[in-house]
């Protein structure tokens, strides 16, 4: 957007001030994340920029923290836990969340608003409260300190994301398509997988990615529901920060940031694809 030729002095001043403000906000949001990336390649064991690093000398940088991450049994265990727990929690979130969204989009379901509110609540209730509640509940039924317990807890946190994204896709879904499929002889299950699922897939996948990131980044609930055996990456980072301030954490953080950016890119690409498909839908 350019300044129109008739802009007054006041408008000109505001035009540039506005850009400066936007830049500052952007800096405020991004700087803390960006600054850890070069630090994770530091050859020192401190959280500081050494003079060598600032001078861009090769000896100032190293991959030792990444090497440490790959060799330390603590980090290895945490990584394998996260990689086990997050996909399982995601699968449960996606299956249950998608079914819930489809069910709640039917107009004849009674109390659908109330049910929706309850299912969405893990997103709204402060995490520490959910976590404490789950701790007491899971202890009673023997799930506390088990993989299954952590997976279920993370699935509960991920379901709201799936419900919201899938419900949003269903708004644009033409119900006469399922009727047409039934009319042509397709059973409800076949109709779901062949007609409805392909069309709401972008919503399902982006919901799944959010659920995955939630589980992958989550520390509070796992601290309560899990035990040392289920220590995940964020948990290991948390202890790492408290006990030994090692730049290995920065290496992990960098990796997590890269993964998150990758996943968000996928979400954005899917959103565009879905928009294109919607534009394509007839009528």
């Amino acid at each position: 957007m350019d300044l129109p030729p008739y802009a007054t002095t006041g408008q000109r001043v505001w035009f540039y001030t506005f850009r400066v403000i936007c830049g500052l906000i952007f800096f405020f949001l991004i700087a803390p994340i960006v600054v850890i990336m070069p630090l994770s390649f530091s050859s020192q064991d401190f959280f500081t920029f050494t003079p060598e690093m600032l001078a861009f000398e090769a000896e100032g940088y190293s991959l030792k923290h990444y090497k440490d991450l790959m060799t330390s049994p603590d980090w290895q265990k945490a990584m394998s836990n996260s990689i086990k727990i997050a996909p399982m929690a995601t699968i449960i979130s996606v299956s249950l969340g998608t079914l819930a969204a489809i069910g709640l989009s039917q107009s004849h379901v009674p109390f659908r608003r109330a049910i929706m509110a309850i299912l969405i609540s893990p997103m709204i209730v402060p995490l520490i409260i959910s976590a404490a509640g789950m701790y007491f509940f899971y202890s009673r039924i023997g799930l506390q300190g088990t993989y299954l317990g952590v997976v279920l807890a993370h699935a509960a946190l991920g379901i709201p994301f799936v419900i919201i994204t899938v419900t949003a896709t269903l708004v644009g879904f033409d119900k006469s398509l399922t009727r047409a499929a039934a009319n042509m002889g397709a059973s409800p299950v076949r109709t779901f997988f062949k007609v409805q699922m392909p069309l709401i897939l972008p919503g399902v996948i982006s919901g799944g990615l959010f659920a995955f990131i939630t589980s992958f980044d989550e520390v509070v609930v796992v601290l309560f529901v899990g035990s040392a055996g289920q220590k995940t990456l964020p948990w290991q980072m948390f202890t790492g920060l408290r006990e030994q301030i090692s730049p290995t954490i920065l290496a992990v953080a960098t990796i997590l940031v890269v993964i998150s950016i990758g996943l968000l890119t996928v979400v954005e690409l899917l959103r565009r694809r879905s928009e294109r498909l919607r534009g394509l839908s007839p009528g």
Partner: protein, 365 residues
């Protein structure tokens, strides 16, 4: 009370439908459709015609009564096991599949082998002159082309019964007329039974073997198009189908096939009693605009005439449309063919109009 005959291919037997348990959307529907028949359900919106179609397709359940297909009740058969083809109002083509995949879908469901499937898809596409479009996606087609694909998809698995829910509503006039012709041609060539829902009376008249006029959840009249137009059974049908002139009055006397009606202006005319029974009853007399004659030479010698004042004369090319004031009614319209010997009327002049008694029907008020 045995109502709809049992020999029909599709039979609605005392069917009722209510969505909320209080008001009936369909009230006591009895209808029998013969094999190979093209039946149109015609009516204003909210008359229950679409609900009937949905009950036949299985997307709505009848609150009361039976629906029979080929002699078997289908109330408890889910939609996907009924084997009925359907063309939807918005076509309902699957946007994520190509045209050929759309057509192959019902065949895949029926586990028909690949080569057989391809042959059937090709035949169906050729049938609607869309053979070259198999690889396109629905969004890459125009409305008329999508319509053809929807039609081909409903026919590709060779159903014996095809339902159409206002399939031409979204098309422009010219394309609509063309498709009307195409659909009737295909339906007759393939010998399929068709139930067609529309609110467009021209469509109903030009396409159907029989038309069921719906209003207020009931069939007001079920008849072939010509009978429906020329011999409406009640004033709703007379008003709904085609253009119609109405004169209000009271029955004076009924003698066999003739009734004397005292119009509200005091004039007495002869009409054919249709659904009026006794003197003193209020009636609406219905006369089609093209059955009214003002040329003295063409009127019967004993024809009954009324005085009329010309209010407006509209030249429409093939016909003249003239608005008259007759017996206090300012909206009495007559249509006359633009023939060489036809006199053009001028507003303000007073003429004598007349008609045959059988064209003048005394209906319910």
């Amino acid at each position: 009370m045995p109502t709809a005959s049992d020999d029909g291919f599709v039979v609605f037997d005392r069917v009722q439908k209510s969505y909320d348990g209080e008001t009936l959307v369909v009230k006591d529907l009895n209808l029998s459709i013969a094999k190979g028949e093209f039946l149109t359900m015609l009516g204003p919106s909210g008359s229950g015609k679409t609900t009937c179609l949905m009950m036949l397709a299985g997307f709505e359940t009848a609150t009361h009564g039976d629906i029979l297909l080929d002699g078997k009740p289908i109330n408890n058969i889910p939609p996907h096991k009924r084997g009925i083809g359907m063309v939807f109002q918005n076509y309902a083509l699957f946007p994520h599949m190509t045209v050929a995949e759309n057509l192959a879908f019902p065949l895949e469901v029926r586990k028909i082998g690949k080569s057989d499937r391809d042959a059937k898809v090709k035949r169906a596409l050729d049938m609607v002159q869309m053979g070259a479009f198999g690889g396109r996606r629905p969004a890459q087609l125009s409305g008329g082309q999508q319509q053809r694909i929807a039609l081909a998809r409903a026919l590709v698995f060779e159903p014996e019964l095809v339902l159409m829910d206002e399939p031409l509503g979204a098309l422009d006039k010219q394309l609509r007329e063309h498709m009307q012709f195409e659909i009737t041609r295909l339906a007759h060539e393939l010998g399929i039974t068709t139930v067609y829902v529309t609110h467009d009376q021209t469509e109903a008249l030009t396409m159907s073997d029989n038309v069921a006029v719906f209003d207020d959840g009931r069939i007001q009249q079920l008849a072939p198009p010509d009978e429906l137009y020329e011999a409406p059974q009640n004033s709703f049908v007379a008003q709904f189908i085609g253009e119609n002139n109405t004169l209000e009055g009271t029955i004076k006397e009924i003698k066999g096939t003739e009734a004397l009606v005292t119009l509200d202006g005091g004039e007495i005319i002869v009409a054919k009693p249709v659904n009026v029974s006794k003197p003193g009853e209020r009636t609406r007399v219905s006369i089609r605009p093209e059955r009214v004659e003002y040329n003295k030479d063409r009127l019967h010698a004993d024809a009954h005439t009324l005085k009329a004042e010309v209010l407006e004369f509209i030249y429409m090319g093939d016909i003249f449309r003239t608005r008259l004031r007759v017996a206090g009614n300012d909206n009495f319209v007559i249509k006359t063919r633009n023939a060489p010997d036809q006199r053009r009327l001028t507003p303000g002049e007073t003429i004598e109009i007349g008609w045959l008694p059988e064209d003048c029907r005394a209906l319910d008020a």
